[in-house]
Symmetry: C2
Subunit: 446 residues, 2 copies
């Protein structure tokens, strides 16, 4: 221990257990000491000497626990928790056109988005997610919910060429994008705004180029749902004679600040284009399974050097926001799709959910691993449980055996937002009650 540093009073000291850093060299430290001050990780070391030699306002004992980076959900529509279980097991178009779209048109408003986001944030924190990338209507209300609960977020203002809730006039894109960026770009370290074009189907070439340009000029991520279904690919090919990826490439919107979500239906050339242009991919296996879209060729993308993060997608197509379950599913689906158990190992999956996710969102300098200088986004997993006993391999245990509820404590930006399973950042019973009331109205009208 650096005796000099001993004079600094830490905000939080985490000590004990096993530290999974998820640094580039995948350092694991037994009985570590992690010092946190002013939102940042001040030091990460093997603890030497007594705990009493450290000065800290709060000491978290992580004995018999795993300390690891908070998980990063690279794609969700958080307010859709309000539609969790509203309609399932239906053909995609029936699900969308007869259930989800009508419910959205009728019930989505700023209050619903704000309350739904808070509920989603609660669920995410309780299952170990400390950053989420989101897009929905009234996205500023999502961002506000993140700010109010101390959650880190990449809220993406959405664009499409038809009226949407909160956006009756689809031809004010430039103005709206500008306002969103102005409001959130420097508002708080917790919020990193982004822009999203819904899909190549629902946005014109002009819209795609325009929004990408605005994002590019502000150095913000440009996001798009891309090649999610065979139908999408078919329609785009009919319209433009190109695959969705080739089409976007032809418009010049693919670069290393572009996040392509889903990427289920890719051919070899698509994969090369994404790799060559440094496009990041958000992989949402549970949603792709539940909506029967297909299995994204993630092992091939990784082989070509594409950066991939994990996402849950919205609750209506999952139906939860638990990244631990998403990790387990990601490992399993690629093994069985390739009939090869070596194709997606636990370490690779955990990287996608942490350091990979950070790179996807362009936040790798700040989050995704536990290293000195980074933001203190850290979770502690309680391993004293039957389903986590015995422990041979931390990576296996995290990906294949742990579940969201094993997260005992969560820290975001150096603040404890959940401690021993108690959310400290909101009145969750009040939020649940508010969302239940919205759901009652939806139920009664059906």
């Amino acid at each position: 221990m650096d005796r000099e540093r001993n004079n600094i009073e830490l905000d939080i000291l985490i000590t004990g257990g096993t530290l999974i850093t998820m640094s580039e060299d995948m350092v694991i430290i037994e009985d570590p000491a992690v010092g946190i001050k002013d939102g940042k990780i001040l030091f990460v070391e093997k603890r030497e000497g007594q705990i009493s030699e450290y000065r800290a306002k709060e000491i978290l004992d992580a004995s018999e626990s795993i300390v690891m980076p908070g998980l990063i959900n690279t794609h969700t529509h958080s307010p859709m928790v309000c539609f969790r279980g509203l309609a399932d097991d239906l053909p995609l178009m029936e699900w969308l056109n007869d259930h989800i779209f009508p419910a959205e048109l009728k019930y989505v408003n700023e209050d619903m988005v704000y309350n739904g986001s808070l509920l989603a944030i609660a669920e995410m924190i309780l299952s170990g997610t400390t950053t989420f990338c989101d897009t929905y209507f009234y996205e500023s209300s999502v961002a506000q919910a993140a700010v109010d609960s101390g959650m880190r977020a990449v809220p993406a203002r959405g664009f499409m060429d038809s009226p949407t809730p909160g956006n009756p006039d689809p031809f004010r894109h430039t103005e709206i994008a500008g306002q969103f960026i102005e409001r959130w770009a420097d508002a708080t370290p917790l919020i990193s705004p982004a822009l999203i074009c819904h899909t190549p189907l629902t946005c014109s070439a002009e819209t795609l180029r325009n929004i990408k340009n605005i994002a590019r000029n502000s150095k913000l991520p440009f996001i798009i749902h891309l090649s999610e279904t065979k139908d999408e690919v078919k329609i785009i090919e009919e319209r433009y004679g190109l695959t969705p990826v080739s089409y976007l490439h032809s418009l010049g919107v693919l670069d290393d600040l572009t996040i392509a979500v889903h990427c289920v239906c890719l051919n070899g050339k698509d994969i090369d284009i994404l790799a060559d242009h440094g496009v990041k991919v958000s992989h949402n296996p549970e949603s792709n399974m539940k909506l029967a879209s297909g299995v994204a060729p993630i092992p091939k993308l990784l082989e070509k050097g594409v950066t991939v993060g994990l996402g849950t997608d919205g609750c209506a197509s999952n139906n939860d926001l638990d990244m631990f379950m998403e990790m387990d599913t990601a490992a399993g689906i690629h093994k069985v799709a390739a009939l090869d158990p070596t194709v997606m190992d636990a370490k690779t999956v955990l990287k996608m959910a942490t350091s990979g996710g950070a790179k996807v969102l362009g936040l790798e300098d700040r989050i995704g691993s536990i290293e000195a200088g980074k933001c203190a986004d850290i979770i502690i997993l309680d391993m004293k449980k039957p389903h986590l006993t015995p422990l041979y391999n931390c990576y296996s245990q995290i990906v294949y055996s742990a579940e969201g509820h094993d997260v005992s404590t969560a820290i975001i930006d150096g603040k404890i937002v959940m401690k021993e399973r108690h959310l400290l950042c909101m009145d969750i019973f009040d939020i649940m009650e508010r969302v239940r009331k919205t759901a009652d109205v939806i139920s009664d009208s059906r």
Copy 2:
């Protein structure tokens, strides 16, 4: 309420919340009253009048909860929890030959099996399973662990034509099977013994016919791992010129007291044979994914009227025993394999995990649904949680959103084995410590 019955003092009354009976007609009762006496369900009704009008030694308030049948795990190797995470992400043969088999030969003994089973039972109860079908070495120690913890079990004594731990002489099959049946057939209502031949690869035709005959004469389930991998099918076809299913059919061992586990690699004729002979199928999707075996054609089997139950398989190939996660995975994998979101809906999955599982094990008269006269194997799910809010559809919520830890209370054979997440049936910290010690020895020797 039947006023006559009012004079009976119940052991347990469950009241409040929503009752999912899983009866043939899928009755759901809001604010039910379930009376339990002497291990049996005495009545199931909509509560009328005050709770004080019932007489019960213990009243369980299920307000804001779902009351449902305990889940039935139709296939596991419970002591393999001791190898959880020991080796993962490896080619099947390397995993088996270099890791699992050597570890089993070296470390499996009666104590390991007993302690491992208790740990597995703890994990199962904590995640809502109230009956498990098991096979491993020293199976009587598994059965004893079930008896000692009040768990319902179908322990299957295993046979193969080579020496195994606890069974150095593989040619005393008849004698050993007889002893196992004698010991367990009438020992306790919690235990229903069965016999299992390991695979068509590891058992001769003589062994298969012999064990099936013994099981048939005693009216016990005969179990076999069947058509799990392409390699198995290939080898059996080379040996006998028949698929594994056709081969077993030719031996006359397939009937409605046969449980075929896995059934991943089936052709159309195989499916017809299984259907025509009333063979039951145990579906283990997470294991089939993790070992990259393939996707069992469950929708086709169900279409042909085959009874299917769910199973987790052993912990070394899963790596947990959580049937809620197994349900979610089962729904997802078939949707994406068929590219059809309607092919495996939540109700169908929940049936596989409850009433279907009971039929697979031949226990449908006793368990699998909440109906008067059946054994009281019941779980209560606490729905007052962010990830279970709001609630539109109970079946969707159970299959797609609930997780094992949402089970607050579990009752087996009319006894409360877990209450408010506290296991009442064993000293779990002692068990975890014992298994950790075994794991330390295994780790140190590697």
